[in-house]
């Protein structure tokens, strides 16, 4: 039996992916700086290269996991609702802030990529790079982007924000917890939010609300943008 037959069977590829993910989480516990998504992909890519099995064969099983991104997007409504209750006094102002940030994020990402001569598919992949992965993937598809490139950019936007975001905010005099949380959630989604959890409860709450809200606003703006592109 060939390697492709094994890897083409979803039972094997899904199990191997879950195992790689579990190992990546363990590694992340020990070495905080290794992002689980990067560590989880390495054994899989290594296996496919060593066994000379094309990605499409692995993805027969991989697709079963990708499919769950839809329900995961829906699930974001739960923290958005729960945190929305806690933040209700400042909600209208937070909506305005997150909405402006989302529009600025989309336009600056797209325009900069375009100015550097990127082809249209890459420009469109850059547009949703600030929002949480499942929504970014859907927006990228709608706009004619390339989802894996979007994912790579989403992860890098998260890591950049988590590493330098709070320092940049301090530099321009932003100290208020809700303002820090709103900026982090809008620019750096879940990865940025996770970096606030140990700093301040209020920052993390606002950030996870902002991350869901930015996802919603970005897909609304993208829907309008897509109408003009047709």
């Amino acid at each position: 039996m060939s390697a492709a037959q094994w890897i083409g069977n979803p039972v094997f590829s899904v199990a191997f992916t879950i195992a790689s993910y579990a190992a990546a989480l363990k590694l992340h516990q020990r070495s905080r700086w290794v992002p689980p998504i990067v560590a989880a992909c390495i054994p899989i890519v290594a296996l496919l290269l060593l066994a000379r099995v094309p990605y499409a064969v692995y993805n027969r099983g991989g697709n079963l996991l990708t499919w769950w991104l839809g329900p995961a997007t829906v699930a974001l409504g739960m923290p958005m609702y729960r945190h929305g209750i806690a933040l209700r006094a400042s909600l209208p102002r937070l909506v305005l802030i997150v909405m402006s940030g989302s529009v600025v994020g989309m336009t600056t990402a797209g325009l900069t990529a375009w100015a550097f001569g990127a082809p249209r598919a890459v420009v469109m992949s850059a547009v949703p790079k600030s929002v949480t992965t499942p929504i970014a993937i859907e927006v990228s598809r709608e706009l004619g982007g390339i989802p894996p490139i979007t994912i790579a950019m989403v992860i890098m936007a998260g890591v950049l924000g988590a590493s330098f975001g709070t320092a940049l905010l301090r530099l321009v005099g932003v100290r208020e917890d809700r303002a820090i949380g709103a900026a982090m959630g809008t620019a750096s989604h879940g990865i940025g939010t996770a970096s606030l959890v140990r700093r301040s409860e209020l920052q993390a709450t606002v950030s996870s609300w902002a991350m869901a809200a930015a996802g919603v606003f970005t897909s609304l703006v993208a829907a309008i943008l897509a109408l003009f592109l047709r």
């Binding site: 998504i37 990605y55 692995y58 739960m78 402006s100 990529a113 929504i135 005099g173 100290r175």
Partner: protein, 130 residues
Amino acid sequence: MLDFLRGIAIVLGFDGLGWGLHRVGVPIPGGVLGLLAFYLALSVGLIKLEWVERASSFLLRHMVLLFVPLTVGLMNMGQLLQRQALAILASLVVSVVAVFLTTGLMGRWLLPPQPVLPGLPLDEEKAGKA
């Protein structure tokens, strides 16, 4: 366990609803439509938070697993990535800085520091979930 399954079923139902709405022509991704409907249903009390809390948290906690297969697809894009590396990096840095400055400065303007409000349900809210 049954509790958890009920939550998953509700979430799947809303995902299906979003997919349907998208199919009949609403130009927003199905998952986001599902999210909005789900949020609305929670807000008006059609579904209770405790019905969906565990299932939603589970899906969100392990979201990284769900985008591993797509990320592995980057292995076929070495050439494109190499050619576009500069554009991608520039776009990232410019845009991340721009978003932080816009939201942060708007926040400084619109959300002035305030004394802690008594009775804000933040602590109890989080205690159950941490």
